[in-house]
């Protein structure tokens, strides 16, 4: 079973994000870049399926050279090879353009399943998985917490939580699955894995290598424009309800909820 994992590099969730002076991007100087945590679930699931069915796991990333670090991490976890789509013309591309480039790279590969995170933790759009599946003409199942591939390797049954219930979907392969927290507990890149990853193939491709015209990418090719980025408003200070007895405190609380918060 050959599996592809699409990987995005995002700022570490513990990094303090600051909006840049253009109000449309973030300051990247002090950002620590990591593999999108949702994509890690994809890498882990792919590796588990490989352990069961055999085959190869290929990681496809897109972005500047630093993205190789995240691809290497996936290789150290156990993936077999990596592809980095890197091209100056990609700078500023929107989700649709990213999906186009990924689909073009994936088209050249043999695959039964594609995993990608249900969204990137940076812009939280969740478009790439669906767009990629559409461009490849294969089924897509999003926000999945359980994946069961049939013994014959021809179909897959997945679980998606919906409003406290579970929706179970079955699909033929090849298909694309976007992964959600709860799917698995991603493994660490072990030290032996890290040393092995050094020797694994990592190919770099430009847009022209993929037969794509640079004109449709980058800032100029955007269908969706970022108008403004603003940090979330600062949280107002909390209030401690005063009172001698629980009764008094409850009365005070009720009064505040009614008069100030106006929720009751």
């Amino acid at each position: 079973m050959n599996i592809i994992v699409c990987l995005k590099q995002v700022p570490d969730t513990e990094t303090q994000i600051k909006v840049a002076s253009d109000s449309k991007s973030i300051v990247t100087d002090d950002v620590k870049w990591v593999m999108n945590p949702y994509d890690e679930f994809g890498v882990e699931e792919a590796l588990r399926l490989k352990e069961k069915f055999g085959g190869e796991v290929t990681v496809v990333g897109l972005g500047p050279k630093r993205v190789t670090e995240s691809i290497r991490t996936a290789l150290a976890m156990g993936a077999d090879k990596g592809i980095l789509i890197s091209d100056d013309a990609l700078e500023g591309s929107d989700s649709l353009a990213v999906a186009k480039a990924l689909a073009a790279a994936i088209k050249e590969l043999e695959y039964d399943l594609i995993f990608t995170g249900q969204r990137g933790v940076d812009d939280d759009l969740g478009i790439v998985g669906a767009a990629c599946a559409e461009l490849l003409g294969i089924p897509q199942m999003s926000i999945i917490v359980k994946v069961e591939v049939a013994e014959d390797g021809k179909t897959v049954k997945v679980t998606r939580p919906v409003e406290g219930e579970n929706l179970v979907i079955e699909s033929s392969l090849p298909a694309l699955i976007t992964t959600q927290k709860g799917l698995n507990e991603p493994r660490y890149a072990s030290l032996p894995g890290i040393m092995k990853a050094k020797k694994k193939p990592l190919e770099e491709k430009t847009l022209s290598d993929l037969g794509l015209d640079a004109a449709g990418f980058g800032e100029g090719g955007r269908k969706m424009k970022i108008v403004e980025l603003t940090p979330p408003p600062a949280r107002a200070a909390g209030k401690i309800v005063e009172g001698e007895t629980p009764q008094e405190k409850a009365a005070e609380l009720a009064k505040l909820l009614h008069d100030e918060a106006k929720v009751i």
Partner: protein, 594 residues
């Protein structure tokens, strides 16, 4: 990289070192970075959640965690591949030691296991011993321990009373004696034990816990590292098969001293990890704690504390990786045959024995400084066990005691260097004579510094080296063969040398960053070097004055004091403003800023 200069041990004191000659954390390869991530992730996800539970000394939990670390390869960086390890470079080993630093008592379990518990077999075991024991130690299936100290022999380690006698059938050595303060004793499966064969020849043995006559005594009640096990190991007619003699009969001291060299530098690296933890925890608290309606991190004195912690940590970190790089450069010179020989490897590491002692002292005292300020920043909460600061404070203290007390290591810094000079391995005496000559013509007022960042610091560190050579020279001349008795003076010489190595490590690292990424990107590192040098030069001058005041008198003393003054001439900078800038950066990032 190919032209990297290989330095003799202690040579940094008599020669100029170029930024390209040192390894720095900025030189990490992708693999190094990933090892750092894996190690940090392991500590964050596996250790941090159980850090309080670990304090209860539960052997099952400890061994489970050790097994997990083994699975990830964290126990095998120094073990050869054919014996279940990874055989990685010393930078990788330093990284793992560092990231384990904030792991509380587990870091003690880890250090004792991978260091003194495992390395004697790695470096001095024969092929059968390596094949038998190392895979189990690499996987964490077995925990290792090391038994050198006895009730009557601590710093005086070779004066052991434990005795080994060959059995009548020649198959066993019968060991009798009691070892003290044995880390991991409560859950170790193998012990490296030193005993004197026939009461004479100091020898190492590999002892399994299930060998007849081997037992452990009562747990010690300790000030800190409560989650580690510390017990006596009792040998009562213990039967140790002759094939378990480690290395050669009568050569135990070789094992002991070489292993201590490695242990000292790794302890330094581990302390760096602890320091970074202190900075991060302290600044988070200081940003969140409000007094007089503002976060306490906005107060100048708190800022100074945060900066001093981070700046010293920067020097310590720069030192540990510089030393790791020196080991790797030196080990790379060994031919294929020698690379396989553990004893040859240990010999290459021994070259830097003085630097290992420096790392041990500087690393442990930097951590002690950081934990103290960490507690102080937290005020009353720092004193309460509810916050981790209290545990950090207690846990840190042992580092100045074990792996050779800081007093022993201070003696070893000038001691080792002077011994090398006698052996003709280090041109210390010529260098000291040259300084005496230079002093006649040198005029600090006519020095013209280039207009480059840190030119002043570069210059004054160079002068400090001359100063160190000058005071070491007059001391050696005065006391000659009786020098070892002059502990007070030797300790001050050691302090000067240690601070020179620290300042220079930070300086060279920063110059390397500047040449790679430009001055702007190195802004805070430049500030760190400036404020640290500014603080140390007056101290070095004062130590030097104290030394010559003891050694010389009358006209000679006046001449020497004038020499000290000349070499240490330095105009202080505005360190307050620079420290505020560094502090603001720490406060903004809420972590170690370099």
């Amino acid at each position: 990289m190919a032209d990297k200069k290989i330095f003799a041990g202690g040579e940094f004191l008599i020669t100029d070192v170029a930024p390209d000659d040192v390894f720095t954390p900025e030189d990490f390869t992708d693999e190094h970075k990933m090892i750092y991530e894996t190690g940090s992730d392991f500590v964050e996800k596996e250790i941090a959640p159980v850090i309080d539970k670990l304090e209860e000394k539960d052997p099952d939990l400890v061994l489970e965690l050790l097994g997990k670390a083994g699975e990830l390869g964290l126990l095998g960086t120094d073990i050869q591949e054919e014996n279940g390890g990874l055989g990685l470079d010393k930078v990788s080993t330093t990284i793992v030691a560092e990231v384990m630093g904030p792991a509380g008592s587990f870091s003690v379990v880890y250090s004792a296991h991978t260091g003194i518990g495992t390395l004697p077999i790695v470096y001095f075991g024969n092929e059968e011993q390596k094949a038998k024991y190392l895979p189990k130690l690499a996987s964490g299936e077995w925990c290792g321990a090391y038994c050198l100290t006895e009730s009557g022999s601590g710093s005086d380690a070779l004066n052991a009373r434990t005795k080994a006698v060959l059995s009548e059938d020649g198959k066993y050595y019968i060991l009798n004696g009691e070892k003290m303060f044995i880390t991991n004793a409560g859950w170790a499966s193998s012990f490296i034990v030193y005993a004197k064969v026939d009461g004479e020849d100091f020898t190492g043995f590999i002892v399994e816990k299930d060998f007849p006559g081997v037992s452990t005594g009562k747990e010690e009640t300790k000030m800190g590292v409560h989650g580690s096990s510390t017990r006596p190991v009792v040998l009562e007619d213990a039967k140790i098969p002759v094939e378990n003699v480690l290395f050669e009969i009568g050569k135990g001291h070789k094992i002991a001293f070489n292993i201590l060299n490695i242990g000292r530098w790794k302890l330094g690296a581990s302390c760096v990890g602890g320091c970074k933890g202190c900075v991060a925890e302290a600044v988070k608290y200081a940003n969140g704690r409000t007094q007089f309606k503002v976060p306490i991190s906005s107060f100048g004195m708190i800022k100074t504390k945060l900066t001093d912690m981070a700046v010293r940590t920067y020097m310590s970190e720069s030192m540990m990786y510089r030393l790791a790089g020196m080991f790797d450069d030196k080990l790379a010179l060994l031919d294929a045959e020698a690379k396989k020989s553990g004893a040859e490897n240990a010999k290459a590491i021994e070259e830097y024995a003085a630097e290992c002692s420096i790392s041990k002292v500087y690393g442990s005292e930097t951590l002690d400084f950081c934990v103290d300020e960490y507690v102080q920043i937290l005020g009353g909460y720092g004193f309460c066990a509810e916050y981790p600061a209290e545990r950090y404070y207690r846990d840190s203290r042992i580092n100045r005691i074990w792996e050779g007390t800081n007093e022993i290591n201070r003696m070893l810094v000038p001691g080792t260097m002077m011994k090398r000079a006698m052996q003709g391995r280090l041109n210390l005496l010529q260098a000291a004579q040259a300084v005496a000559g230079d002093l006649m013509t040198y005029s600090p007022l006519s020095v013209e510094l280039p207009d480059t960042p840190l030119a002043l610091q570069e210059h004054i560190i160079k002068m400090s080296k001359k100063l160190a050579l000058m005071v070491a020279g007059v001391t050696a001349q005065k006391f000659g063969a009786n020098l070892a008795r002059e502990q007070e003076v030797l300790a001050k010489i050691a302090d000067i040398v240690i601070e020179i190595f620290a300042m220079e490590s930070g300086l060279l690292r920063t110059l390397k960053i500047i040449s790679k990424d430009g001055e702007e990107k190195a802004k805070y590192q430049i500030a760190a070097v400036k404020v640290y040098v500014d603080e140390m030069i007056p101290r070095i001058e004062s130590w030097a004055k104290q030394i010559v005041s003891y050694v010389e008198e009358g006209d000679m003393l006046r001449t020497q004091l004038a020499g000290v003054k000349k070499l240490a001439r330095y105009q202080p900078i505005d360190a307050v403003t620079l420290k505020r800038e560094i502090a603001d950066r720490i406060i903004d990032l809420e972590s170690y800023p370099f």
